[in-house]
């Protein structure tokens, strides 16, 4: 229990209810909608620069001609926004806030006001970032990795204000997620329902908690690095300036010491969402629950020892690369085992391909390709050639698109009935799913090929490179852009489905998917305070199709009684 008394229900008014609320569900929706709005900006940016790559020098509809400076700014903002202002808020903050108290059976986060502050700082960070588009010189264009000296010195990057606003926005965003992470970890440790042991906690909560710990443990050095970068930019210090005794490579170590765990900070919540969806729609107990928890912890620990694989050719001592090749390949072991567990869960199941399940299975199918292509890059000898090519970009998007987009859609379509008390339209959901998945592959398979052919990243026009400016490679670039246009063009179907279902969808019962975890024992949508009566827990979260029961599910909150009696009172309490 979270110690807090049951909140007094009174008519609080629009601002108190939706904008200044301490209710974890409202804060989750604030994060979700802010993330989705930022995704529109990130999506527009990629539309503009991919059009420039497919049709160099042509005027892009809705934008105009793209200059080299604008191109760099758009590339930078696309990466920054999609990682820090879409993947993080949606996967970690929105699902973390929505699910943790509901799945643990408590009424709210342990620190509701800290939670509210977390979103407010996050919103401020988004405003600062978006504002950087409109300052003199425009938005920062030194890539989302912001390597100095380029990022540290306005005479090099030509975006004096944009560069500083970028660093400030990222630092503010980190503060917001630190506050959120404190809440997630504390709530999971202290506010579980009576009877819920750590190994009765649903995998998605485990994953969000482990991700929060990873984030909190890795972000400190980068915040220090960001402060030094701002000092270099504004005060003329030389932390990263070799001319005054600094070292530009220092930033890369600080950035990637955070940046690689960050991959797992967003991967683990997505893996958690998939772990909730697959058992429900295959009516199967999750295969190897404890193995999955242990592999997630192992992945988290190892992720602190792989960062320099981003820097093989950056000027670090080449002997160090040998060490990081070994750690990088070792991390494939726990991640592969986790994926094997997910696949094994399907064995002996009774699989229904409803929209959330399609997304969850697509996550596994697509993430596999992202995972195996990472081996090329972790193998130092192969990375010499593939580093900073489109092969890296395609690999990265085969991991991050499943994480941030496919995983998020799996979660949204799965918990939509709980969030809004209404069902989404399955037909629109499936149209949206299939077009999105096909378009996604049409974008990035060609980019693996252009990368293998030597296309290097962040180039706004390949016409200066005779080996790259060939009709064959250009047609691959055009194919990728067409895939992107199709991907963006289908998203309104999701938006329409989302909004229409929110307003007019069929009313959802408390447990429409016949699932076991505690959030499905609350009303849809749960009121402020979540549960009419705080639940008790009698078993683990994945007791599907137990042999001695008629029902093919056995909710966590239903007391242990004989099967005959259980059949009488089973289902929603």
């Amino acid at each position: 229990m979270s110690g807090a008394a049951q909140p007094v229900h009174r008519d609080a008014g629009f601002i108190r209810t939706y904008l200044w609320s301490t209710d974890h569900k409202v804060i989750a929706m604030q994060y979700l909608f802010t993330g989705m709005l930022m995704a529109l900006i990130g999506g527009f940016a990629v539309y503009v620069f991919r059009m420039q790559l497919a049709f160099p020098g042509e005027s892009v509809p809705l934008f105009g001609r793209v200059s080299a400076g604008q191109y760099n700014a758009l590339v930078t903002m696309h990466g920054t926004i999609m990682i820090f202002w879409v993947a993080m808020p949606v996967l970690l903050a929105a699902f973390g806030n929505f699910l943790i108290p509901l799945m643990l059976g408590c009424d709210d986060m342990v620190f509701p006001k800290v939670n509210r502050l977390s979103y407010q700082i996050f919103l401020l960070s988004a405003v600062v970032l978006v504002a950087s588009f409109f300052v003199p010189g425009g938005a920062f264009g030194g890539a989302w990795t912001a390597y100095p000296p380029l990022s540290a010195n306005a005479t090099y990057n030509l975006t004096q204000h944009g560069a500083t606003l970028w660093v400030v926005a990222v630092a503010l965003e980190f503060v917001a997620f630190l506050l959120g992470g404190i809440n997630f970890v504390t709530t999971a440790m202290n506010s579980r329902a009576p009877g819920m042991r750590m190994f009765d906690v649903p995998i998605v909560v485990w994953m969000i908690v482990i991700a929060s710990i990873l984030f909190m443990a890795s972000v400190g050095p980068l915040i220090a690095g960001a402060v030094m970068l701002v000092f270099d930019q504004l005060l003329g210090t030389g932390f990263y300036d070799p001319g005054t005794g600094g070292d530009p490579i220092l930033w890369q170590h600080l950035f990637w010491f955070f940046g690689h765990p960050e991959v797992y900070v967003v991967l683990l919540p997505a893996m958690g969402i998939v772990a909730e969806v697959i058992p429900v729609f295959s009516r199967k107990k999750l295969f190897g629950y404890r193995t999955i928890v242990y592999t997630a912890v192992a992945t988290g620990v190892i992720s602190f020892f792989v960062w320099a694989h981003h820097q093989f050719v950056a000027g670090i001592d080449p002997r160090m690369a040998s060490l990081f090749t070994i750690t990088t390949l070792i991390i494939s072991v726990p991640i592969a085992e986790m994926v094997f567990c997910y696949i094994a869960t399907l064995y002996g199941g009774s699989i229904t391909l409803s929209t959330p399940m399609l997304w969850a299975l697509a996550f596994v199918a697509e993430f596999l390709l992202g995972g195996v292509t990472g081996i090329f890059l972790g193998a130092a000898g192969a990375d010499i050639y593939l580093h900073d090519t489109y092969f890296v970009l395609a690999h990265f998007h085969y991991t991050f698109f499943p994480i941030a987009i496919i995983g998020a859609f799996a979660g949204i379509t799965f918990w939509f009935p709980k969030m809004f008390g209404r069902m989404m339209d399955e037909r629109l959901g499936k149209i949206h799913f299939w077009v999105t998945i096909v378009a996604f592959n049409v974008i990035f398979i060609p980019l693996f090929l252009t990368g293998a052919a030597g296309d290097h990243r962040r180039i706004f026009d390949y016409s200066g490179f005779p080996d790259l400016a060939t009709p064959g490679l250009q047609s691959l670039r055009i194919t990728a852009t067409m895939g992107l246009v199709a991907l963006l063009a289908i998203q309104p179907v999701f938006v329409v489905n989302f909004i229409r279902s929110m307003v007019r969808g069929p009313i959802a019962e408390a447990n429409p998917w016949r699932a076991n975890t505690l959030e499905w024992s609350a009303a849809s949508p749960p009121p402020h305070g979540n549960f009419a009566e705080l639940p008790e827990v009698y078993r683990g979260p994945y007791e599907y199709s137990p042999e001695d029961r008629d029902e093919d599910f056995w909710p966590q909150h239903v007391p242990d009684v004989s099967p005959a009696e259980a059949a009488g009172i089973g289902g929603v309490r």
Binding site: N157, K285, T345, G348, G349, V372
Partner: protein, 243 residues
């Protein structure tokens, strides 16, 4: 696989390509097997009326073998890949075979300057030849390069050589290559370096010994620049001369 797209123009290019092929075969087989099992399970265990799902915890040893055997296989293949990758890495980046000639590469926003040793085969003498955006090499000759940057990070990348190395201001990074075919190939900047990042194309010209001698005889001698003379290079500091 890479040689379908890009010529192999250095002594280590075939090694890098073989490594990429090896990794491709191993992870490709793994990927296809995993996808096949995934799709087969989805099809085989689709919901059918009257058929109930089975209760399997995955906590028993007899069940765990289905994930632990593939997982030992992953470990085994990881070891194979690490061994192969580090051999190539060591050849290209750690070992420094004795060089026959030196070439100095200086990156800046947004151009490459190449300082060739000239007929005497030594840098920092009066017959050095300085060119912009054109690197001139003799085939089958082992070069040591000395990579500098004047301002921000740049990435010296020659896809046909399978060589990539960032240039870091304040450091002189040393490495090697030996061109094996004559011809002309792209040089790229592979590290974002500002608004002109896409406008830094250069070419490497690889010639036979005779053609290279002829080029040296006719190449215009430009006056030495402060930065690319030994004094300035020494100030920049020869840190990290990797060996």
């Amino acid at each position: 696989m890479i040689s379908w797209y890009v010529a192999q123009a250095s002594s280590y290019a075939p090694d890098v390509d073989r490594l990429i092929l090896l990794v491709g075969l191993i992870v490709g087989a793994f990927f296809l097997a995993a996808e096949f099992v995934l799709v087969w399970l989805i099809f085989k265990f689709r919901a059918r009326p009257g058929v109930r799902a089975r209760y399997i915890t995955g906590e028993k040893t007899s069940e765990m073998k289905w994930v632990s055997y593939p997982h030992y296989l992953v470990l085994l293949f990881d070891i194979v890949i690490v061994a192969a990758a580090l051999r190539v890495w060591s050849d290209v980046k750690i070992d420094l075979p004795p060089g026959e000639e030196q070439v100095r590469i200086v990156a800046q926003q947004w151009a490459w300057t190449f300082v060739h040793a000239g007929p005497d085969g030594r840098l920092d003498t009066a017959d050095d030849i300085r060119t912009v955006n054109a690197l001139n090499l003799q085939v089958n000759r082992l070069y040591h390069y000395e990579l500098h940057s004047k301002d921000v990070l740049h990435g010296f990348s020659v896809p046909a050589f399978r060589l990539k190395q960032d240039a870091v201001p304040g450091r002189a990074i040393v490495g090697w290559f030996r061109p094996t075919v004559t011809g002309e190939f792209d040089i790229q900047c592979a590290e974002i370096c500002g608004i002109g990042h896409g406008l830094m194309p250069a070419r490497v010209h690889i010639r036979s010994a005779e053609a290279q001698a002829a080029w040296m005889a006719t190449a215009p001698r430009m006056p030495p620049l402060p930065f690319v003379t030994p004094a300035a290079a020494a100030t920049a500091g020869h840190q990290r001369a990797h060996r």
